[in-house]
Structures are given as C-alpha cells and as structure tokens.
C-alpha cells in the first residue's frame, strides 16, 4: 500500500440498510470490507477499493455506494490529480506504472463526429424485419478477377480462390489470451463465437488441447513474438492464423505475464515452464523487415498447407498506410489494425496513454492507400480498438473495414466494469484472474449467452441502420463513405477520413 496517496474511491455504507450479511466481504478480492465483531458491524478500507462495483451490485439490501473519492488537490489543469498520484507512486517504488484496459484519456473519438445517412424520398429504405438482409462477411484474400462457368445451368467458379473464412456478422472477438483472462472467460468467448457463427481470438496464450476439436473452427490463433502455445496442431485446427506484431494499447513493446499466473495448465498451454514469467519480446526476432514478415507469413501457410488465411495484426501508428501496403505485398490475407483506444490486460500507462493513433484515422488511411494501389481486394481489414456499439461497427465498415474486433465491449458484456486493474489478477468479476475462487464466479454458459445476446442485438441494429440507408448487404457499405458525414471536424480530419462535412 502506498503512503501519501488519496484513496481513489469512497465507500459509503447506509447503516440503516446493512444487515452485516458479509456478501461484500466475500466478494472483494481487495479486502476492502470486513466484519468487526466488537462493533457488530461492517467496516471498510476505502484505500484498497478499485471501484469495480462488484459489492455494490451484489449487496442484497442496496446498502453500498462506491464512487470516485471527492477529495481534490488544489485545482490545476496541468498537474492533475492523476499526474500527482502517479508521481507519488513512482517516487515510492521507482517502477513503471502499470495499468489495464484501454486508453482513457480525452483524445477525440471520431465515431462521435461521424453521422450516418438514411434514405428519404429519392430511394426507399428497407425493413430488415421483412426483407432479406445480408451481414455474412468473408475474411481473406479475394481474387483480382473471377472466371465463372454458366454453361451447365449452374454457376461454377473457375478461378482458383484463396482460403476465406465466413463470419455470420462482421463482429469478431479480439485477442484475449488464456492467462491474461480466466479459463472461464476464454471459454465463454469460444462458446459464443461458435454459437453466433463468428470467431474468437486466442491471443498469445495458446489454445488448450481439450478445446481444439470443439472450438478450433471458430478460432483465430495467434503466432506472436513469444511463440507461446504454437505447435502444428494448434495452427492446423484453427480457422485463421494471426501474426501479432503490435497491439493498440502498447505499440512497440512486448508483454510480460507474471510468473505467479503461470499455473500448471497455463504452463502446458503456453508451453513454458511453470512459474516463469511468460515474456513476449517487443519484436518478433525473425521479423526485422517486410521481407522477413513475408517469410513468416509463408512459413505459416506452409505449416497449414495453404488452407488458412493468415492475418497480420499491427498497432495503428504514424505510417500505418505504408506499413499496411507492405503487409499486403508480403502476403497477408487479413490485416488487423488496433487503434489508440485498444484494450490490454497489462501495459505501462505511459505507453497506453501516449503511443499510437486513433483507429478511425488509421483505418481510413489504410483503406484509401490500398485502393489507390489497386490491392484492396488482396486483403480483408479488421478494425479494432474502441468499438463500443453497433453504430461504431457501421461507421468502421463505411470507412473501409471488412469487420471489427471487439474486446472491451465483450468483456463488459461478461461483467467487466473497466476498473483498469486487470494486471493485479484480482478481478472480482472472474474475468481477468487465475484465482480459482474468483474465476468460478464466471459461468461460461451464462457469460457465453450474454455475448451471443450482444452480437444478436448489435447485428439487428446494424440491419436497421443498413435498411435505413437503403442497403441490403453489408458488402455494399464497405468503404462507402458517401454514407458518412463529419460533424465538428477540421479540414485535415475530413481529408484523412475521406468524408464530406455534414450538409455538403
């Protein structure tokens, strides 16, 4: 515990409601609540509270109110409370400040400055409740031309096609590894992806052997710098293979899964000794150039007999468009771009909050560049990092994405409240922890159902928005910037996004 720090949260207990049932005490892994037998009432240690709201939600009498601690230093726009508290933590430890989940700083959220179109008078809107509406999306490289044979009454595709993977809705769960999240949370994502006909991403933690037969067909398996959990069966059981170069929350740096989280199961799944840190180096040591990337892409294609699309995931950074072009030329079938607001289980805060660019600008720049070079068909684009609702999905697709990755949104659907303490391993919601007592709070059947519900709700909303625009297939929206207008954006921003201002 730190000295000289103000508590982040205040715990208010309505004594007239509290029945001292001690639910709050049992639910809190941070030991905020305790029963004092002498006073015969509950007492709280607010300084340990992370604001996850687990106790407040589960309190049967609604006796608890947890809110940000109102104490403030003298107001100062430059030296904010957060900056002061961080300085004090570093003065005490000499360490790098860790954090979890995505960038919470007030960078402009472009989704909120883009508005969608709808049909009025000059073309009819479509009602998706009664008319067919296609959200199915194919991820992978598309041919330059398509030869078809219409001779024998049927339609037969003559051209050789590259492997493509269909998803029922253009929403894919982004990379969250077993180890970063609990087995239960990992399984919830897998179950939901299978039921909803979409994909989940194993992250760099491997795919447990017992899950391969049932869920491999819905898995994007990662091959990242630590090569954790990569064996030929892992690659061959999957739907898609993803080379992870970078992550939006921490572009340019690797990851450290602390040794205390490397249990026996995680040791075998990641293929590392038990109790050692799982260190993912910052670069992949066989990739120092586009040519080297190409070498790994084809190594993975060789290892899977050219049967699976290979995705390359990068963080959105300054020259993202040129990098993406190189990736496509290197042979990537899918390029995944993770923006400034992408989440993480653990990252140095200084990196999370200061490195990278917003996904909206990166996505628009990449789509434009690949079109200009005539190679947009060679890859699918997956946009990630800060997709919060179905409207963000629609806007991302109109800016050129084929589909989106959702990570934080999926976690919230399972119970996450964005307390940003993922790196402590004490997730009271059973998501980001390896403590069996905490992890069993998450029931994969129930959490899986909640994720399927989320995908269902979003998909229906997407259909409504498409129908309103008079479009009946998600394909017709891809890169269709005519359906977007900017509000409150500067000229250069409109220019990068490739959209007109509202009213133009």
């Amino acid at each position: 515990m730190y000295s000289y720090l103000l508590p982040e949260f205040i715990v208010e207990r309505r004594e007239d409601r509290c029945i001292a049932c001690r639910v709050c005490e049992r639910q809190c892994a941070n030991d905020v609540h305790a029963y004092d037998p002498e006073l015969e009432r509950m007492v709280s240690r607010a300084e340990a509270c992370v604001g996850c709201q687990r106790c407040a939600v589960l309190c049967p009498t609604g006796a608890l109110l947890i809110r940000p601690h109102p104490a403030e230093y003298r107001p100062n726009s430059s030296w904010t409370r957060e900056k002061l508290q961080d300085l004090k933590k570093q003065a005490e430890t000499g360490g790098v400040i860790l954090t979890g989940s995505g960038n919470d700083k007030p960078y402009r959220i472009y989704w909120d400055h883009l508005v969608l179109n709808a049909s009025q008078v000059t073309n009819p809107s479509i009602d998706p409740l009664r008319e067919p509406m296609e959200l199915k999306t194919f991820l992978g490289r598309k041919p330059d031309t398509l030869e078809i044979d219409l001779d024998n009454g049927g339609v037969k595709i003559e051209s050789a096609l590259h492997p493509n993977v269909p998803v029922a809705t253009p929403i894919v769960f982004s990379a969250m590894s077993y180890g970063a999240i609990s087995y239960q949370a990992f399984q919830s994502l897998a179950r939901a992806a299978k039921e909803a006909g979409t994909l989940f991403n194993t992250g760099e933690g491997g795919l447990p052997k017992e899950m391969r037969a049932a869920y491999g067909g819905n898995a994007i398996v990662q091959c990242a710098s630590g090569r954790f959990g990569v064996d030929p069966e892992y690659l061959n059981c999957a739907a898609v293979i993803e080379i992870k170069i970078g992550q939006g929350a921490k572009p340019g740096i690797g990851g450290h899964l602390p040794g205390e989280k490397v249990s026996e199961n995680i040791s075998v799944t990641r293929m590392i000794p038990r109790g050692t840190d799982a260190l993912s180096p910052a670069p992949q040591h066989d990739i120092y150039s586009i040519e080297d990337l190409s070498m790994l892409i084809y190594a993975l294609k060789e290892a899977t007999n050219y049967e699976k699309p290979v995705s390359v995931k990068i963080a959105a950074v300054h020259n993202v468009a040129a990098i993406a072009s190189g990736m496509v030329r290197a042979g990537a079938d899918i390029i995944a771009i993770d923006g400034l607001r992408g989440g993480t289980g653990a990252a140095p805060k200084i990196i999370r909050d200061n490195v990278g660019i917003p996904i909206e600008l990166a996505l628009a720049a990449v789509d434009k560049r690949l079109r200009e070079e005539g190679i947009r068909n060679k890859c699918s684009i997956l946009a990630a990092g800060g997709i919060r609702c179905s409207a963000d999905v629609v806007k991302a697709i109109a800016l050129g994405a084929d589909a989106v990755y959702i990570g934080t949104a999926a976690l919230v659907a399972m119970g996450c409240t964005l307390c940003q303490k993922c790196y402590t391993g004490k997730c009271n919601w059973g998501i980001c922890t390896q403590d069996p007592y905490l992890a069993k709070r998450l029931n994969p059947e129930i959490a899986g159902r909640r994720l399927v519900n989320l995908l269902h709700g979003w998909s229906h909303e997407i259909k409504e928005m498409l129908g309103g625009m008079g479009i009946n297939a998600i394909e017709s929206l891809r890169g269709n910037r005519e359906h977007l207008r900017g509000v409150g954006l500067a000229e250069w921003e409109l220019d990068v996004l490739g959209v007109k201002g509202a009213g133009e």
């Binding site: 790098v96 050692t276 060789e302 899977t304």
Partner: protein, 283 residues
Amino acid sequence: MNNLNVRFGLRDMFLDGVRPAAALIKYVNINGQSAEIDALDLKHKELNDLLRAVALQGISKVTVKNVFGQRYIGTRLYLPDPEKRLEIRISGNPGNDLGAFLNGHRIIVFGNAQDGVGNTMDDGEIIVHGRAGDIAAMSMRGGKIFIRDNVGYRAAIHMKEYPGKVPVLVIGGTAQDFFGEYMAGGIVILLGLTLKENEPHKAHYIGTGMHGGVIYLRGRVEEYQLGKEVGVRPLDDRDRAVVERYVGEFCAHFGLSAGKILQGEFRKLLPVSKRPYGKIYAY
C-alpha cells in the same frame, strides 16, 4: 498476374509461377520406400509440394539433391497420420526456416543451413553437417538440433520447455551475439570446436533476459560476455550425464570422438531468476 486496376503491381515471390503437381513429377524418382527429388529448378513451394506428396504416398525416406536456398523444407509435413515420420536427407544449401514448425521428422543436411533452422520446432531432429545462420532454434519447444560448425546471431533465442518436452540444441562451433537470449527452457550445448586453443567464444550478451533452461558452454568465456540475467556454475554429476549423452549423440552424427571433447572445460550458465523483470513495475 493480371494488371487490371493495378498501378504498382504486386508480385508474389512465393506463388507466382508455381507449377501444378503434374508438372513436377519428373523431378521425383521413387524407389520402393524411398524417393529422390532433384531440387535444381524447383521453387520453394514446389519442393514442399513434392515432399508432401511423397509423404502422403507412404514414403519414409527422401533424398533431396541440388538444394539451392529453398525455404521451409519439412514445414508442410503436418500429416493426417501423426505417427508417420520422414527422414529427409538434403545435399546443397537449404534456405531460411529449414524445419520451421517441424512435426517430428528427421532432417539431415549435407551442407550449410541459413537463418531460422528449427524455428518454433515442435518435435523431430535436424542435423546440419556444416554451419547455420541466425536465430537457429528460435522458440524451439521440442526435438533436437545438432549443428557441426558455427551459428549466427541470437541462436537458441526464446527456446522453451514444459512438462514432457525439453528441446536440445548442440552446436559444435561457436555462436554470435545474443546467444540464448530470452531463453525460457531447453538444453543448449556450445562446444567451441572451431575455436583456436584458448580463444574465447565470440558472443556477447550471452543469455540476456534468460529465465529458464540451461546452457553448457565448453571453452573460454569472459564475464563481460555474459548477460546480466545469467549466473555461472560448475557442472554437477547430473549435468555431466546430460552433456555426455548429447555430446555422444553429436559425435555419432558427425563421426567425431567424444572422449577428447568431454575432457574440455565445461561451465553451466543458468538464469539467476525465473522472473527477471518482476520488479520493474509499480502496481
């Protein structure tokens, strides 16, 4: 490649001009259980197409001659029958990523190998009668690699192990910088046979970031050549047994005598912590 709508063009180094299987048959000569492939004009993928085809036909010994830089030899041999194991004998110089993701086969190279030998290899054996380039045995997690001469930079980087799988890398010569970087497991033996009498090993930053596994190093190495995450220990009886076993196998592959090699001075490099970076964070 067609040029419709393509301003700068896109050339696929691997797939352009790859011939169908039927056109490749003339490069293979099958004789009972064994086959010979002449790789002289074969592209990377063509050679691997042929290797897969002969493996699926049930052939267990393949000789590939005239290899000139073809990549990924052995990588495409994740076969439906996991018990099926091939022996591939290569003459010439195989290209990068020889035996990448290798699934239990045996590859013997009569020549030098390039970068990425045994990259992320899962199981099997690679024996190189010559030298190897950079990142040999990168992220290897099972099987054995024997290299007769020297290796390039970052050999054994991020090798790992877990219950039931311990990879082994034996290098006859010396290694370049960052040897054993980030090692998380496995057994690495560096013999220094290509060094002159009393000449120290070449590498600096040996075992930087190492947090698992063990390196047995024969010959001279100075303190400043070691990364700060490794400690030096003398060998105990168990270590000696391990070294004797794998040096014995090494010598059997290359026709050398183990006795003299084992008389050299060995030291054992171990990580000082399983968690080298556990204390750099403020929570």
